[in-house]
């Protein structure tokens, strides 16, 4: 870009004329998308903030009373919010860490050149395309008391867990929700990490081999550090997604047994209890939580991502 502007073959006047035309075109081409996103993201969020400052009558729709921060104070003082907050973070922590470990292992596997790699890649990708609701139903059927695959196999082998009502107890229900999520989204983490793996040059490995490094040493001292940006990126995407979790607990437990997520709690207040003000306050709190976490991530790992961006240019 820099060389282009000082290139002597084109006059500076002509270049700036084209510059202006390009900027104008760029503005026109980006505007529709930005307008749509602003209208359907920024405006509703502004409206949600307004709704959250009001109390709506449950019986008479539309009848409202300005209450200031009361909905927020009530939410932050309630046990439900903190329970949902805690459960969402527990779910995100468990599923994201499992997905990163499994995803890294899967990526290393997919990076090996062996016969059948294409088959493995396709098979691994299948759960990603499954809609989350179906994935939830699938895992639900596997853990049905007596008639599910897992409960059946466990009791046949005489192992514990066969006679448990998995979705009827907090710890077990959470385990099923985490497994369903890991099953569906590990391929996503694996592919991002695989892309990071393919950027590492073969020469780096050859040098390590010449120095007599063992496979494990090579992995810990070369692969993992060079892979860090990709892993962090996968972690960011997956964490943002996990903190917004809704479909899985909705289908698997309807939020029972302490598996209600932040999004679910807001939904329940809004749709089932028709508490528009409270529901909006909870959805804004969910939004703020996700935003704070993403800012923390970018703050601590952002340099990493910027380095990747620089190398790519």
């Amino acid at each position: 870009m820099v060389t282009k502007t000082i290139s002597p073959s084109r006059g500076p006047a002509k270049t700036s004329g084209r510059d202006r035309a390009e900027r104008k075109l760029a503005f026109r081409m980006t505007a529709p998308s930005l307008v749509i996103m602003a209208l359907v993201a920024a405006v509703p969020i502004g409206y949600a903030i307004w709704l959250s400052l009001n109390q709506y009558s449950v019986r008479t729709a539309g009848l409202s009373r300005f209450v200031g921060l009361e909905n927020y104070i009530n939410a932050l003082a309630s046990q439900e919010w903190w329970a949902a907050f805690g459960q969402t973070f527990l779910f995100a922590g468990l599923s994201v860490s499992l997905e990163l470990v499994l995803g890294t292992a899967m990526a290393l596997l997919l990076n090996l050149a062996f016969k059948g790699r294409a088959v493995l890649r396709t098979v691994v990708l299948l759960p990603y395309a499954i809609i989350t609701v179906v994935s939830a139903i699938t895992w639900q059927t596997m853990f049905q008391p007596n008639m599910g695959l897992v409960t059946n196999v466990l009791s046949t082998l005489g192992l514990p867990g066969g006679d448990v009502v998995w979705l009827g107890e907090h710890g077990y229900a959470m385990a099923v929700i985490v497994m369903a999520d890991v099953w569906k989204t590990t391929p996503f983490a694996a592919l991002i990490i695989l892309a990071g793996l393919q950027v590492i040059s073969a020469e780096t490995y050859e040098a390590a081999e010449l120095d007599g490094a063992s496979k494990w040493q090579t992995f810990v001292n070369i692969t993992l550090p060079l892979l860090r940006p990709a892993i962090v990126l996968a972690a960011i995407f997956r964490t943002m997604d996990a903190l917004r979790v809704f479909d899985l607990p909705f289908v698997l437990t309807r939020g029972a047994n302490g598996t209600e997520s932040m999004s679910m709690l807001a939904y329940t207040q809004l749709r089932e209890n028709r508490l528009v003000g409270e529901g909006s306050a909870l959805s804004i709190l969910t939004f703020l939580t996700v935003m704070v976490v993403s800012v923390i991530y970018v703050r601590f790992a952002g340099g990493n991502i910027r380095d990747v961006a620089k190398e790519e240019q």
């Binding site: 390009e22 998308s33 509703p44 596997l109 396709t122 990708l125 699938t138 807001a266 749709r271």
Partner: protein, 299 residues
């Protein structure tokens, strides 16, 4: 092929030990433990599918006993699903919503992505950050106010009322993925179009867009899957079968036939809507992989 030519590479290998040996070793030998891991990963990915299909083929006692293979496989659950008008309606709704959203998102996103990838532009970094930040919004933050706005202006429980908010989440995904595809097209092509007197927009439409077809196809698949999959907006903004898409219809399936074991029919419905997606993955797995990784690492 003669034995002579077949032998030659091996002879060469002996003189150049390091680099080619590495490639060869990777191709031929895989540690037995690695094979165990390959099989475990495959099983983990496939067994749930098997169980879903297995459950969908069972009825009555064979369902409640949880047989590992259906002793009396029956297609009855599938017939029930196909005779369920609500399911057919949901299928129609999902197709309309996904096709319209994907098409509209692709048109607008290809403009925006081209400008962001190629044209000189003020505040480009800020705009990209803004677009990215939309993807981090929890859908509930949009769904809550949409619920109120849509009820006031009559878009609640309509297909259009679902397409509009879904577009907001489809656009950044499409822009992000397409930007990285546009960046990969050689710049010389536009330069030569400019030499021929084309304006930047003509260069985009006549030269770049046709070359970007693979990238557009990839983006379309990713957007389609995510729109088809989306649940929270769909469940918040609909209330009747007339506007309900497939995921919501399936989630509420259990209520319709409680006297029977509904698990069989739910599984059958799940299999029915999964088959097209599985075919999509089988046919387009390379595209899906490149799309998912292009947006992520090359952005």
């Amino acid at each position: 092929m003669s034995t002579l030519t077949a032998e030659r590479p091996t002879a060469e290998l002996a003189t150049r030990p390091k680099a080619p040996k590495r490639r060869l070793r990777g191709e031929s030998k895989l540690h037995p433990l690695v094979w165990v891991f390959v099989v475990a990963v495959m099983a983990f990915s496939l067994i749930p599918f098997y169980w879903l299909v297995n459950t969908s083929l069972k009825k009555g006692a064979s369902l409640s006993q949880g047989e590992l293979f259906p002793s009396q496989p029956t297609l009855e659950n599938y017939l029930v699903v196909f005779h369920n008008p609500e399911f057919l309606l949901a299928l129609r709704n999902s197709v309309i919503i996904a096709v319209v959203t994907t098409t509209v998102a692709l048109v607008f996103a290809s403009f925006a992505a081209y400008a962001l990838a190629r044209l000189k532009m003020r505040r480009k970094a800020m705009i990209l950050t803004l677009i990215l930040s939309v993807t981090t919004f929890p859908a509930i933050a949009i769904a809550a106010p949409m619920f109120s706005i849509w009820r006031e202006i009559g878009l609640y429980d309509t297909l259009l009322g679902l397409i509009i908010p879904k577009l907001t989440f489809a656009l950044p995904l499409a822009i992000y993925t397409l930007t990285s595809f546009f960046k990969e097209i050689p710049r010389e092509l536009e330069e030569s179009a400019y030499m021929d007197g084309a304006t930047p927009f003509v260069a985009f439409r006549k030269v770049i867009l046709p070359l970007a077809v693979p990238g557009l196809a990839t983006t379309a698949i990713l957007v389609f899957i995510s729109v088809w999959n989306e649940f929270l907006l769909a469940v918040t903004l609909t209330t009747s079968p007339e506007a309900r898409p497939v995921p919501v219809a399936i989630a509420f399936f259990s209520g319709t036939s409680e006297f029977d074991q509904p698990l069989g029919t739910i599984s059958a419905a799940s299999v029915i809507i999964t088959v097209p997606l599985v075919i999509l993955v089988l046919v387009c797995q390379k595209r899906i992989v490149s799309g998912m990784t292009a947006g992520a690492v090359k952005g």
